[in-house]
């Protein structure tokens, strides 16, 4: 008798639980749908203007910014813009002006020496828009925050690694991105400064890859054919290492030593298969994340500040570890 009563109570409880779960699930579905309609008017609208829709460095920056956007979803809304053409300063300037017209609250962009570009940023600042520069800083500029690598020190580190790898004896060609980018200029200056201490290291050529793999491969061929004495290639911009790692093999390696910037997938591939000898890795994801976090947490910046992200030197041994870590 008592058993059957107990079963009856259990059955009723079960029915109640299932009904409650059904109703709760229904309500939860509706609520999650309603959550889509959250008002953005009271949020800080951040526009991220990237120079390059790549598959590597800038993608990590964007991912970092979007992760920051999710992390601070209650405070900020992050939207990313790219120029139609990679590193097209006019289009990037137009994107900044569009943000000014849209009265956004903050702009995250790369610094650039182009005066129109800088003027657009100044106009934005004059309209009360907060500026955060990532990867590349602009010296003597309106109050802003710089988040990225200390490029001069990064160049110095590259110089030290070059000397260590070549034993202080090399004929070096340098592949950069485009002229007029402070970050690249600083890296180059740091590199040269350290190399000066080694009399047998000679910098014989400086080329620009225009931030695209086609140009990288073409420039590499030109350097090799034009100056057979060059035995070491240093890419102080990420696309170089990316293209070489992706398309060359160790057998096709055109230089004795190749040192590159930025740990992208293709770069690590080259590092693992021996095409690339060393990679100076920046923290692009951290740059994007810190930029959004800074806007979400801190108020309007009245004076310029710099938040330097870390750098790491990776060899083939580190590359395997990096892959494993990424897989995890």
């Amino acid at each position: 008798m008592r058993d059957s009563r107990g079963k009856g109570i259990l059955l009723r409880l079960g029915i109640l639980v299932v009904a409650a779960v059904s109703l709760f699930a229904l309500g939860y579905d509706m609520r999650s749908l309603a959550r889509l309609s959250a008002n953005l008017e009271n949020k800080t609208r951040i526009s991220v203007i990237m120079p390059h829709r790549d598959d590597g460095y800038w993608t990590y920056v964007v991912n970092g910014a979007q992760d920051g956007g999710e992390q601070y979803a209650a405070q900020v809304d992050v939207k990313v813009y790219y120029p139609q053409l990679n590193y097209n300063i006019d289009q990037m300037t137009a994107l900044i002006r569009r943000q000014i017209a849209a009265k956004v609250d903050a702009i995250i962009a790369q610094g650039n020496e182009d005066s129109a570009y800088q003027q657009a940023l100044v106009d934005a600042w004059n309209k009360g828009i907060r500026l955060v520069l990532v990867d590349t800083d602009i010296a003597d500029f309106v109050p802003h925050v710089y988040i990225g690598t200390d490029n001069y020190k990064a160049g110095q580190e590259m110089g030290r690694q070059l000397a260590a790898l070549t034993g202080g004896k090399a004929t070096v060609a340098v592949l950069s991105g485009q002229p007029g980018y402070d970050n690249l200029e600083e890296r180059y200056r740091g590199l040269i400064e350290i190399a000066q201490a080694y009399p047998d290291i000679h910098f014989v050529q400086l080329e620009y890859d225009n931030y695209d793999s086609l140009t990288v491969l073409n420039k590499v061929k030109q350097i090799k054919n034009g100056n057979p004495a060059v035995d070491t290639l240093v890419c102080i911009e990420g696309t170089g290492g990316q293209a070489i790692g992706n398309y060359d093999t160790k057998e096709e390696k055109k230089f004795r030593y190749i040192l590159v910037f930025d740990n992208m997938e293709e770069t690590l591939k080259g590092l693992r298969n021996g095409t690339i000898d060393g990679v100076e890795a920046q923290e692009p994801h951290q740059m994007g994340l810190l930029a959004v976090r800074d806007i979400a947490i801190n108020g309007v910046t009245q004076t310029s500040r710099a938040l330097y992200t870390s750098i790491r030197w990776l060899t083939a041994r580190d590359a395997d570890r990096q892959v494993q870590a990424d897989e995890q």
């Binding site: 229904l26 579905d29 000014i100 849209a102």
Partner: protein, 507 residues
Amino acid sequence: MSNKRTLALNTVSKKYSFGYVLLAVVAVALLVISFTCDHYLLQQYNGMTNDLLELNNLYIEMETANITVNASYLFLKNESFTEYRQESANIGQVIERIKTGGRGNLASREVVDILYTAQTYLEQSDELVALLQQYVSSPQKREDQYSRITEMYNHVQETMTYINLGFQDAYSAKLNQVRESQNQLAALQQRVVVSQLVLLLLGVAVCALYFTGVIKGVTHSICILTGRVREIESDVYSTRRIEVNSNDEFDDFASALNRMIDVIQTQMHTIRENANIHEKLSRAEIENLRIYNELQKSRLKLLQSRINPHFLFNILNIISSEARLENAEKSAEMMETTAAYLRYNLDNLDKKVTLEKEIASLKNYVDIQRYRFEDRYTFQFAIDERCNTFAMPPMILQPLVENAIKHGLGMVLQGGCIWVRVTRADRRVEIRVEDNGVGMEQEKIDTLMDHIKRLNTESEHIGLRNIYMRLKYFYDDDVDFDITRTDGLTTVQFSLPCKEQGWPCIQ
């Protein structure tokens, strides 16, 4: 209290009614849930459509406003300025409507950007139109005014370009959002259907369980009642109570049945007790009849043993007279003693006598035996005089003494003695006849006692058994009888009741 009682489910009818109410509640709940879900889904679809329509409306208004800006700039017509003002106001209204209307648009970053860009556009175009009006109304038509207007016009058109780009982004984003929402709504719709089905099934299950419970309860109650009635059929004295615990009419019915069974059992108990009493009475009557029969038999035997005592008594008197005449004194005495003994027997056959008379008669008998055995045996009497008036049946002591002579002293040639003792102790009279004869072994004594006391047994010890039966009959079974053998003495003893008042004592 009465309300509580009215609301309580204490009848089968109420239980069924509650089931139907439950069914109705489930149906209504399902209807409400269905209606709410459908309403919500419809609202979401309408919201999405309205958002798109409003956005499109803004686009149209922006395009129209820009046409009036262009017309104002290109043709400097006052009508264009007025039209622009109108369009500008319209845009302001649309923006306000979007801001205060559906939250869907404000949730889209692209739309929010457009709204702000539209505001920028209005600010710039307002300024441009104002400059144009100023320029038209100004007689000087200054160069710097022209440059400022041209610059402002370029800004306005640049902003319009951003607006167009923004609308492209916004439409794309909104359509993506609509697609995403549609997918989510479709999924939600499916889940709503599943949830409704689950709730429907649960509702049906609840109602089915409830009704099954009610029906089972009724069946269970009937089974309990039927089973109990069958139990009572087979064992009317079963004391188990019927307990239905159904909280309805079956409880009342069970109580009534319990009461009915109680009445039946009480009556049955009375009948059984009466039957027992009747049976006991019948047994007692039969026993009485049997005792009476035994008594009659013993009487008959006694009578048979005394054939014509009057004739013998007369003969003995004649012989006694003749003996005296012939100077045969001893014979005369013997005759007289024998005659006295016979007279006692003859006169008191159906009477009760006093112990004194019985002792006197016994002494006559003893005298007769003395004549017979001379000094071979001695007889000793120890009689408590307080017992002289004690009433008893006649011819009790003589057979005891006769048995002592016959079975105890029969083989004793010299020194045989018989003691007759009568004592009174605590309302009882004890009569003992002892002899120092050969006696009996204890086993034989036990067998003898058993034969005497077992009433239905035909015994060879008729004398003792007769005495025992007569005493029992006389004293209403209040007779203690025993035979013992101790220290060479065989004792036959009776303990009889002695009341101060009533029949045992004769004053």
